[in-house]
């Protein structure tokens, strides 16, 4: 059995997928993880890079919502909010994101209107309602019900 110590040169020829176990950096002679689920997690971490791990649209959406909310909380600029990278990635999720955006709008009204408009190509908000978050949210939720997207 070979142990790999983070930050320490390792002879990778000794490591195979079956035998590899990360070592405890404090005690290099001991394995860092002992439980089978931890071993599985460790193997996934080392053999399945993040770029190859599958994440559901809903999980990705929740992650991006958190990033966007944290990154735009002190901003007044609606332009900066809509051009924030996380917001743009949510738009990039496409139509799969629409029911998620509508649920989020119902749960906690926020500035999701541009994303909905960008994805769906429609805008149920009347000009007189611009900037009025609750009314805009209501307009979008009404549209969703009319489209059969409501619960």
């Amino acid at each position: 059995m070979s142990y790999a110590v983070p930050g320490r040169r390792t002879d990778y020829r000794l490591l195979t997928e079956e035998s590899y176990v990360p070592a405890d950096p404090q005690s290099p002679d001991r394995p860092l993880l002992t439980g089978s689920s931890q071993l599985l997690e460790a193997r996934l971490h080392y053999y399945m890079p993040i770029s190859r791990q599958r994440q559901s649209v809903a999980e990705r959406f929740r992650e991006l919502v958190g990033i966007w909310k944290a990154g735009t909380a002190p901003l007044s600029s609606a332009t900066e909010m809509a051009t924030h990278p996380a917001y743009q990635q949510i738009i990039g999720l496409g139509r799969d994101a629409v029911p998620l955006l509508l649920r989020e709008l119902q749960r906690e009204p926020d500035h999701w209107f541009w994303a909905l408009k960008a994805i769906t190509g429609v805008d149920p908000v009347e000009p007189r309602q611009r900037g009025q978050i609750r009314e805009m949210a209501e307009a979008w939720l009404r549209w969703a019900r009319e489209q059969g997207l409501g619960r």
Binding site: T72, P74, L75, G131
Partner: protein, 149 residues
């Protein structure tokens, strides 16, 4: 709440300030500066926020001066309290893009809605200097009797 605000605006750590509202995405600093709490004002080209219809939707200092002009504000030289007038301070980035507006209170302190975060009352304008707001570029004033609320 204070920890988050001071992490974003470290200048407030050495300023005297208090939180005066819950956080909400319903209105922003521009709305709060003109006494509104139901509307998000901004000249976004996507036309999602409210902006006076006769004023261009561009993030420039001239556009903000025009917008506040529709509400009776004119440029003034300083932040010194002038009886009978209320003043606002407009913050801009180093690229002169408007980012924030604070409103002066009768006692000379300032009130700000921090994006989607809370309203605060702050003793000085300097507490909000730095990222993400930049610094104060100009002051405007209008007679107090024209106040909308």
């Amino acid at each position: 709440m204070r920890e988050e605000i001071e992490r974003i605006f470290p200048g407030l750590k050495t300023d005297v300030y208090s939180i005066t509202s819950p956080r909400t995405p319903s209105y922003n600093c521009v709305a709060w500066a003109v006494g509104q709490v139901e509307t998000w004002w901004w000249p976004d080209p996507m036309e999602q926020a409210f902006w006076p219809s006769e004023i261009p939707r561009r993030e420039t200092i001239d556009v903000f001066i025009q917008a506040f002009g529709t509400l009776g504000y004119v440029l003034c030289a300083t932040a010194v309290v002038e009886p009978g007038f209320e003043k606002i301070a407009i913050y801009v980035t180093s690229a002169t893009k408007p980012t924030h507006v604070a409103r002066q209170l009768p006692n000379g302190t300032w009130t700000s809605k921090l994006g989607k975060l809370e309203d605060i009352e702050h003793a000085t304008l300097d507490g909000l200097n730095g990222s993400p707001y930049g610094s104060v570029a100009l002051f405007m004033r209008r007679p107090i009797q024209q106040q909308t609320s």
